[in-house]
C-alpha cells in the first residue's frame, strides 16, 4: 500500500512540475514564435498573393476581434490606395489543421488568391495544396457568393486526385474566409480607409 501511494505521489509531483515548466516556457517564447511565424510563413504567402502592391502588407496590418478570436488583416495598396486585405483561416485536413491565407479585393469582393501556410498533410499527396499552385489557383477570381466547396459536395472546386480530404479542408478554410469577410466587411472598410494617406 505504501509503495503504491509513493508511486502515485512521485508521478503526480513530476507531472505537475513538468506542466509548470512547460507553461512557463510556452509563455516566454510565445511572442518570439509569433514573430517567426509571421516572418517565415505568412510573409511568403502574402507576397505570393499580393505580388504587385506598392506597400509592405506586413507593416500595414490591423486586428479585429471576431467573437472570441482575434484576426489579423494585412492590407495591400495599389498606387497608395488600400484596395485589398489578406487574412488567415484554417480548415480541417487529413492530419491536423491547414492554414490558408486568403486575399480579397475590397472593391470587387473577389478573391485575389489563396495560399497554404501551415499543414501537416502527407508529402506528395496532400502537400500539393501548398507546393503545386494548380489547385489553389482555382480560388482566384471567385466572388463571395460562389460556393467554394468541392464538386462532390455541390461546390465548384475540383479536388486534387488522391487528396480529397485535404482539398475539402482547403475549401472549408476558403468558405470560412468568405463568411468572415462578409460578416466583417463594414469594419474592414472602416479600418482600411484609415490607412489611405
Amino acid at each position: 500500500m505504501r509503495e503504491m501511494i509513493n508511486m502515485v505521489i512521485v508521478l503526480t509531483v513530476l507531472s505537475a512540475f513538468s506542466g509548470g515548466l512547460l507553461a512557463a516556457v510556452k509563455t516566454g517564447t510565445k511572442e518570439q514564435i509569433e514573430q517567426q511565424v509571421l516572418k517565415f510563413q505568412k510573409a511568403p504567402a502574402i507576397k505570393q498573393i499580393l505580388s504587385d502592391v506598392s506597400n509592405d502588407p506586413l507593416q500595414d496590418r490591423f486586428k479585429i476581434m471576431d467573437n472570441d478570436q482575434e484576426l489579423t488583416f494585412f492590407v495591400g495598396k495599389h498606387d497608395g490606395k488600400p484596395d485589398s486585405v489578406i487574412f488567415e483561416t484554417s480548415g480541417k485536413g487529413f492530419s491536423g489543421d491547414i492554414g490558408l491565407m486568403v486575399g480579397i479585393n475590397i472593391d470587387s469582393d473577389e478573391i485575389i488568391g489563396v495560399c497554404v501556410t501551415t499543414h501537416s498533410e502527407t508529402p506528395g499527396l496532400g502537400s500539393r495544396a501548398k507546393d503545386d499552385p494548380k489547385f489553389v489557383s482555382q480560388f482566384a477570381g471567385m466572388k463571395m457568393d460562389k460556393n467554394l466547396d468541392i464538386k462532390k459536395n455541390g461546390g465548384e472546386i475540383d479536388i486534387m486526385s488522391g487528396a480529397t480530404i485535404t482539398s475539402a479542408g482547403v475549401s472549408l478554410a476558403a468558405k470560412k474566409a468568405q463568411e468572415i469577410y462578409t460578416r466583417l466587411k463594414p469594419e474592414i472598410e472602416k479600418q482600411t480607409a484609415q490607412m489611405a494617406n
Binding site: M7, V10, L11, S18, L22, T29, I33, V37, F40, S120
Partner: protein, 197 residues
C-alpha cells in the same frame, strides 16, 4: 573522480559512439541527415535533452520507485523535448520546419531512454552529465559526418556551399532514404575496419 569523468565522457565519442557502436536511435539518423545543417541541429537538440534528462534522472534516482521508473523517465524526457521544440521554434524557425516531426520524436529516441535507464539511474549526477554530454556530442558528430557525406555526394554542397566543380552531377540517390542505409552501412564497415587494428 576526474579520471572517471573523462572516461565516461570519451566513451561516447568513440568506443560507444551511439549510431555506430550502440546502433541505437537510427530513426533520426537516417531521416534527418540529408544535410550537415539538419544533422548537427538534430544532434544539438538531442544532446540538450540527453544532458538534462540524465542529470534529473540521476538526481531523482533514489526517489523514483523502480516499478514506475520508465513512466517517470518518459515524463522527464518529454518535458525537455517540448522545451527544445518551443525554443527551436522561437529562435531557429527554418531549422525547426526542416526537422519537423523528428524533434518531438526525440522522446522515443532509444539513446535518451537508454542512457537514463542504463547509466543515469545508477550513477552520480556529475558522471551522468559527463555521460550525456559525451553521448550527445558523439551523436552530433555522427549525424554531422553522415550528413556531410550524403549532402556532398547527393547535392554537391556542404552547408549549402558547393564543394565540387560546376561539372559535378549530383548523386541524388544519396539524399534519399535508401542512400541513408547504404551510407550508414559503409560508415559502420569503415569504423569496424579501423577498430579492428
Amino acid at each position: 573522480m576526474a579520471q572517471s569523468m573523462v572516461k565516461e565522457f570519451t566513451k561516447g565519442l568513440w568506443a560507444e559512439i551511439p549510431p555506430f557502436r550502440l546502433v541505437l536511435g537510427l530513426c533520426p539518423v537516417l531521416a534527418v541527415t540529408k544535410s550537415v545543417e539538419n544533422g548537427i541541429g538534430m544532434g544539438i537538440a538531442t544532446t540538450f535533452v540527453l544532458v538534462c534528462s540524465n542529470l534529473l534522472v540521476s538526481l531523482l534516482r533514489s526517489v523514483i520507485p523502480a516499478k514506475v521508473r520508465i513512466a517517470a523517465y518518459i515524463i522527464i524526457i518529454a518535458t525537455f523535448v517540448t522545451v527544445v521544440e518551443l525554443v527551436m521554434q522561437a529562435y531557429t524557425y527554418p531549422l525547426f520546419l526542416k526537422l519537423g516531426i523528428f524533434i518531438p520524436l526525440i522522446v522515443v529516441n532509444c539513446i535518451v531512454l537508454g542512457r537514463a535507464e542504463a547509466f543515469a539511474s545508477k550513477n552520480s549526477p556529475v558522471l551522468s552529465i559527463a555521460d550525456g554530454l559525451g553521448m550527445g556530442i558523439g551523436f552530433t558528430l555522427s549525424l554531422g559526418a553522415l550528413g556531410a557525406v550524403r549532402e556532398s555526394l547527393g547535392n554537391g554542397t556542404i552547408l549549402g556551399s558547393p564543394v565540387f566543380g560546376p561539372e559535378f552531377q549530383p548523386f541524388t540517390f544519396m539524399v534519399e532514404a535508401p542512400g541513408a542505409f547504404v551510407c550508414l552501412g559503409l560508415m559502420l564497415c569503415l569504423m569496424n575496419l579501423i577498430g579492428k587494428k
